[in-house]
C-alpha cells in the first residue's frame, strides 16, 4: 500500500515536472540580435586635411523570439589592429533611433517586444595622427564589436555582434 502511494506520488511529480518542461519549452524566450548582416545606410566620410574619418550605419535590433526581452547594456569597441592604433583616437557609440536623442552615448535600457525591430545607429569617429591613406592601407576593414546584455525569461545573457566598415573603399 505504502509502496503504491510512493509510486503514485512520484508519478504525479514526474508528470508535473514534464508538463512544466513542455510549457517552458513551448513558451520560449526572447531572441534578440544586433543583426549586423542586415546593416544599411552605411556611410563613410573622410576629411583628409583634418585626418578624420566618420563612419555610420543603421543596424536592426530585432527580437525573433517568442517572448519580450530587455536590452539593458550595450557597449561597442573597435578591434585592435596593432601599432597603428596607437596613432588613432577611435570613438564608437550606439544610439537607438526611437529613443530620446542623447549626445553622451548613454544607452537607456529598452524592452524589445517579440517580433519587433528597432533601428540602432552605430557611429564611429577616427581621429588620426598619420595620413588617412596609411590608415586605409593598414586597416582596410574596420571591425567594431558590439557586446550587449539581454534579460529574458531565462535570465541575463551576453551576446556579441560584429559590424564592419570598408575604409579602403
Amino acid at each position: 500500500m505504502f509502496a503504491e502511494f510512493i509510486l503514485a506520488a512520484l508519478a504525479c511529480l514526474g508528470t508535473l515536472a514534464a508538463s512544466l518542461a513542455v510549457f517552458f519549452h513551448y513558451q520560449g524566450d526572447s531572441e534578440i540580435t544586433f543583426d549586423t548582416a542586415a546593416a544599411r545606410d552605411s556611410r563613410i566620410t573622410k576629411n583628409m586635411p583634418q585626418r578624420t574619418i566618420r563612419c555610420r550605419c543603421l543596424i536592426p535590433l530585432a527580437n525573433r523570439g517568442r517572448q519580450n526581452g530587455m536590452v539593458i547594456n550595450v557597449f561597442c569597441q573597435p578591434m585592435y589592429y596593432g601599432k597603428i592604433m596607437e596613432q588613432l583616437d577611435i570613438t564608437a557609440r550606439l544610439r537607438l533611433l526611437d529613443a530620446p536623442a542623447r549626445q553622451n552615448g548613454y544607452w537607456e535600457a529598452v524592452i524589445v517586444k517579440k517580433n519587433t525591430t528597432h533601428l540602432v545607429e552605430l557611429e564611429v569617429t577616427i581621429r588620426s595622427q598619420v595620413d588617412l591613406l596609411r590608415v586605409a592601407r593598414e586597416i582596410p576593414c574596420l571591425k567594431v564589436i558590439i557586446y550587449y546584455q539581454v534579460v529574458g525569461r531565462d535570465g541575463i545573457q551576453w551576446y556579441l555582434s560584429e559590424a564592419r566598415f570598408d575604409l579602403a573603399g
Binding site: 513558451q27 530587455m70 529598452v110 525569461r153 535570465g155
Partner: protein, 212 residues
C-alpha cells in the same frame, strides 16, 4: 472651491540624497498651510536605497519558474524582480501566494490574489526599464515604512502628506496618507497623474485648495 495641483521639478534623486532635505529644498518655499504634500513612491524608495541591479541578484530555480507564469506586462515576469520579492517577502510566502493565486484563478476566475498574498512590495516593485535613467538598469522596490514617512513629513513641514504610486494608465495607489489628506481627493487628482510617468522629474506634487 477649486484645486491647484502643482508638480515640482527636482534634480535627479539618488540614494545619496536625504528625503526631507529634498522636500525642504524643493517644496519648502512653496508650501502653505492647508496644502497636501504628495511624494512619489519611487523617490521615497530611492532615497531609502531600495534599489538593486539585476546583476547583483542570483535567481533561484523557483524564481525562474514562477516568473514564467507572470504576464510580461508585469515587473515580476523578470526572474530577478521575482527573486528580489522572494528575498523581501520570503520564499515560502511567495510560493504560497503563487499556489493560492493559481487555485483561486482556476476555481473562481479571480485575478490579483498573488499580489494580495505576497504582500505590498510585490505590487510596488519596478523592474529594469521601469524607471528613468540612471535607474533604468535597476530593480526598484517600494518604500519601507511609508506611514512613518508621511507622519514625519507632516511633523516637519506642518502639512498633510501622502505617498502615491501613480502611472499614466490611471492606476493610482495610495501607500500612506496622513489623516487629514482625503484619499478620495488624492485618487481623483492622481487619476491624471500630474507628476508624469516619464522623464518629467516631478516627484513632488502640492495639492492646494483655493476659493474661486
Amino acid at each position: 472651491m477649486t484645486l491647484d495641483v502643482i508638480p515640482l521639478q527636482t534634480k535627479i534623486i539618488t540614494p545619496e540624497d536625504r528625503l526631507f532635505q529634498i522636500v525642504a529644498d524643493y517644496a519648502g518655499p512653496h508650501l502653505r498651510p492647508g496644502d497636501i504634500l504628495v511624494l512619489a513612491e519611487s523617490m521615497v524608495a530611492i532615497t531609502q536605497g531600495r534599489l538593486i541591479r539585476p546583476e547583483q541578484v542570483k535567481p533561484t530555480p523557483w524564481a525562474l519558474a514562477l516568473a514564467r507564469f507572470v504576464s510580461q506586462d508585469g515587473s515580476l515576469s523578470s526572474p530577478y524582480a521575482m527573486q528580489v520579492i522572494m528575498n523581501e517577502s520570503g520564499a515560502l510566502r511567495t510560493l504560497f501566494a503563487f499556489c493560492t493565486a493559481a487555485l483561486t484563478r482556476l476555481v473562481f476566475g479571480r485575478r490579483g490574489d498573488f499580489y494580495r498574498f505576497a504582500g505590498q512590495q510585490a505590487s510596488l516593485v519596478d523592474d529594469v526599464t521601469g524607471n528613468m535613467p540612471p535607474f533604468d538598469k535597476h530593480i526598484v522596490l517600494g518604500p519601507k515604512h511609508p506611514e512613518q514617512v508621511v507622519a514625519e513629513t507632516r511633523e516637519r513641514f506642518g502639512v498633510e502628506a501622502a505617498i502615491i504610486d501613480a502611472n499614466d494608465l490611471g492606476h493610482t495607489k495610495i501607500l500612506a496618507a496622513t489623516s487629514g489628506a482625503s484619499q478620495k481627493l488624492l485618487l481623483k487628482v492622481f487619476r491624471a497623474n500630474p507628476g508624469g510617468n516619464a522623464d518629467q522629474q516631478t516627484p513632488i506634487v502640492i495639492i492646494r485648495k483655493t476659493r474661486s
